[in-house]
Symmetry: C2
Subunit: 140 residues, 2 copies
C-alpha cells in the first residue's frame, strides 16, 4: 500500500511538464521538511546531479509555487524558504538556531483579516523567538 503520489504524478496532475530538474527538486522538497532555501536545495542535490544549475533551482521552485505545488515562506530577514506542505499552517522561526518549525494553526484564519471588500488569497502566520530546544539551553 502506497498512497503517496510521487513528484512526477503531481507535476502531471498540475498540468505542467515533467522534467528531470522538476522531479529532482520537487522530490527533494517532498522528502525534506526542513524548509530549505534555493541555495540549500542546490547544495544538497548538486552532488548527485552535477548538471543542474542554481538558476534552475530558482526557476523550478518559482514554477512550483505558481502552480500551488509548494509554498514559499519568507523569513523575518527576507530569505525565501520552500515547503511542500501546502495545507495552511503557521511557522515558528528560531532566532538562535535558525530552524523553522511547523505549527498547527486551527484558527478560523478568514476572520483574522478584517478588510471589507478585499479578496484574500492566502494568509500567513509567523512567530519569531526561541525554539523549545534553544530556550531550555543554559546561558553561556
Amino acid at each position: 500500500m502506497h498512497n503517496t503520489k510521487d513528484a512526477g504524478d503531481r507535476l502531471r496532475e498540475a498540468g505542467i511538464r515533467v522534467t528531470t530538474p522538476r522531479v529532482i527538486i520537487y522530490d527533494y522538497l517532498l522528502k525534506h521538511r526542513t524548509h530549505p532555501t534555493c541555495d540549500e536545495i542546490y547544495t544538497d542535490i548538486k552532488a548527485g546531479n552535477p548538471s543542474l544549475s542554481l538558476a534552475s533551482v530558482y526557476n523550478v521552485t518559482e514554477k512550483l509555487v505558481d502552480h500551488d505545488l509548494i509554498i514559499r515562506i519568507v523569513s523575518p530577514d527576507g530569505e525565501r524558504h520552500y515547503d511542500a506542505v501546502t495545507k495552511f499552517h503557521a511557522h515558528f522561526f528560531c532566532g538562535k538556531c535558525g530552524k523553522i518549525f511547523d505549527v498547527s494553526c486551527d484558527h478560523d484564519t478568514e476572520q483574522l483579516i478584517d478588510l471589507p471588500g478585499a479578496v484574500v488569497n492566502s494568509i500567513s502566520v509567523s512567530a519569531y523567538g526561541e525554539c523549545p530546544e534553544c530556550a531550555s539551553e543554559v546561558d553561556p
Copy 2:
C-alpha cells in the same frame, strides 16, 4: 495641544544618540504610513537632504528596528518595509497595486502559536490578495 512626541524625543527616550539622519528618517516614517522600503525612503528624502546616503538609510532603519522604535515587515516576495506603528496589527498585501494595508487584529495572538516550550518574541499575520479598490475594478 500637541501630544505627539517628535522623532528626537523618541530617540532620546530609547537611549540612543540623536543624529541628523536618524531624525530625518524616523520623522519621515512617523509622517508617512505607507510602509516604505529603504529605497523608497531614500528616494523621497534625498531631494531635501542630498548628503544622506542609501547605506545610511539601511543602517538607520536597522538601528530603529533594534530599539523597537519601528517594525520591519517583510512582503511575500521578500522586500523589507518599515512601519513606525509598532502596536501589533496585521498587514494586507495587494498583489495588484502593490500597496500594503494595515489591518486591525484583535485576536489573542499568543494562542495562535502552539509550540510548548518556545519563547515567542513576536508574531506577524499577513494576508495576500486583492485590496478592496483593485477587487472592485472592472476586468480589462
